[in-house]
């Protein structure tokens, strides 16, 4: 008797499951439905059918799963499909932006474009390049990095390893305030101080100072978080060996966190590379190659893009150049990010056997 019951009734641990291909089928169905409805109703925007499809997908996942698998599994599927929909919503604009930039940017992007300045090419005629802008961006960002990395890392070390009481609180507060400074304000600050009060001319260095103001809080914050992640036990182990505190920081704390710190610095660089406002105010831009960041106007990639767009008077050649420069800028930032990941992986504490 009991045996027959066992055979007839499956284990209580097993329930009905939808096949593996079910979510894909539901997705295909809802996309078809979304397309069908928008075609029937005469909606011509591609966003509308995609949103309709997303809603159908979530609802259908729930309905089908609730019927076949039960309510708990259905809720699980809804959560999963919401995550997927959110992921797609986040990725689609990014991919389309990349696609658009690559498609329009490659038209004039070649060796000549990368190795020549605008020189005497006027904005409306084809030709010219972005060599002067790449040079300016590299110099301005490089100087800003050289200034802000040591100051930022030392500040973070002070805050985590030494800072107690009022001074540390004040520093933390001002770093937080600095994080929120809009780039135009940083630019205006340097403008009023460096150019208006000290009567210096526009230069790459002036722009680098504004970029430093923007970069510093990012580096302090990220380095601080990385240093806090270093277990206190490591510091104590080193101190208990009779190692002075500063050597403990240099040889144990910093090497343990160097991967994260590097990533933070790279992200900070990536952030300021695209800044236009302070460069516009302080470096002014130039169509000629200026290798000296301390004297005279320089170009930079974001400002080049802006100027090509603004001064083109609708000329296709200028638009092409702007897109190509945008593509170069994105590629530059992306290479930096890849380098940061590489360094982080290379320097991360090894756990392998």
């Amino acid at each position: 008797m009991s045996q027959t019951v066992n055979v007839e009734r499956p284990s209580t641990l097993q329930g009905a499951r939808l096949p593996k291909w079910a979510p894909l089928a539901v997705a295909a169905g809802s996309i078809a439905l979304g397309l069908g409805i928008s075609a029937a109703a005469g909606l011509d925007s591609s966003i509308q059918w995609a949103l309709l499809a997303a809603i159908f997908f979530v609802l259908a996942s729930y309905g089908i799963a609730a019927r076949v698998e039960g309510r708990r599994q259905a809720k699980d599927r809804v959560a999963t499909s919401l995550v997927w929909v959110a992921f797609l919503l986040a990725v689609i604009p990014l991919v389309s932006l990349m696609w658009e930039t690559v498609e329009r940017g490659v038209k004039v992007l070649d060796g000549y474009f990368l190795s020549h300045s605008m020189g005497l090419v006027t904005d409306t005629e084809p030709g010219g390049g972005i060599y002067h802008a790449i040079l300016g961006t590299l110099e301005q960002v490089g100087i800003a990095t050289l200034i802000s990395v040591p100051i930022g890392i030392l500040t973070a070390i002070y805050l985590v390893e030494y800072g107690r009481g009022r001074l540390a609180q004040a520093v933390t507060f001002f770093v937080d305030v600095m994080t929120g400074i809009p780039s135009i304000v940083a630019g205006l600050f340097v403008l009023s101080f460096w150019i208006l009060i000290l009567d210096m001319g526009p230069s790459g260095f002036a722009g680098a100072m504004a970029l430093t103001i923007l970069m510093l809080p990012v580096i302090v914050r990220s380095t601080e978080e990385m240093l806090k992640l270093v277990p206190n036990e490591l510091r104590e182990a080193s101190l208990a060996l009779g190692v002075p505190k500063w050597r403990t920081i240099m040889k144990v704390v910093l090497p343990t966190s160097i991967g994260g710190i590097t990533t933070g610095v790279m992200l900070a660089i990536a952030r300021i590379t695209g800044e236009t406002a302070p460069v516009l105010l302080l470096v002014w831009g130039s169509t000629f190659i200026n290798t000296d960041p301390f004297d005279g106007p320089q170009a930079s990639l974001p400002m080049y893009i802006y100027q090509q767009y603004a001064n083109s008077g609708g000329s296709g050649a200028a638009y092409d150049r702007a897109w190509a420069a945008a593509l170069t800028l994105i590629a530059f930032v992306m290479i930096l990010n890849l380098a940061a990941r590489g360094i982080a992986r290379w320097k991360a504490p090894k756990t392998g056997r």
Binding site: R164, P231, E233, L234, R235, E236, A237, S238, L239, A240, L241, G242, V243, P244, R247, T248, K251, V252, P255, T256, P349, K350, T351, G352, R353
Partner: protein, 258 residues
Amino acid sequence: MAKRIDISGLSAYYSSFRAIEDISMAIEPRSVTAFIGPSGCGKSTFLRTLNRMHEVTPGGRVEGKVMLGDENLYGAGVDPVAVRREVGMVFQRPNPFPTMSVYDNVAAGLRLNGSYKKSELDGIVEKSLKGANLWNEVKDRLNKPGSGLSGGQQQRLCIARAIAVEPNVLLMDEPCSALDPISTLAIEDLISELKERFTIVIVTHNMQQAARVSDRTAFFNLSAVGQPGKLIEIDDTERIFSNPSVQATEDYISGRFG
């Protein structure tokens, strides 16, 4: 190398909270002294005052005298860094430096304190790893990361790291509490070998361990939570575990409280 420690009238504070009160005792050289007592009674705090690690904690300060040989560790002008070179420490959880190889971990104390020749370091590293009974297990992987070893091996690596700088005293804060019985046995064997060369102080929650490894045992207790911990008695281990002179010790050892 081993030196005697004399503690008199020692109290330790965390900011205004007094964690241990008026402790006086003598720790004999070339012997193992075990500290036992309920959690929170200040054993670890007391241990950390013996190499001035207590003051690393924010707000930590100490009153009283700790004589290492004929020098007061808390005397005027004493450099805590120099103290810690004389008095090494092994922690509860194995904490090898994650960025360093096995070799570099053992050499860390020497390298971070000065420059040594490669051949000199090789000798010290081998001697320390042999001293920690770890040499045979790691001699083929000296350049692999130290964090890739098993927990018990990591703890012996930490002991090797501590003895590589040739301290006079070795403090161990529950060195086996994160380890399995076999690794614990390895560490206990090691402790009985190391006491030929070092003065060893060990904090433990395991009474059998205290009975097995130590020559003298100190019992700490606190009258109530929030009160400072006190030394109840210190005596030969055999006496503490067979016929202690204070009732509270016997109650604790026989498991009637705590």
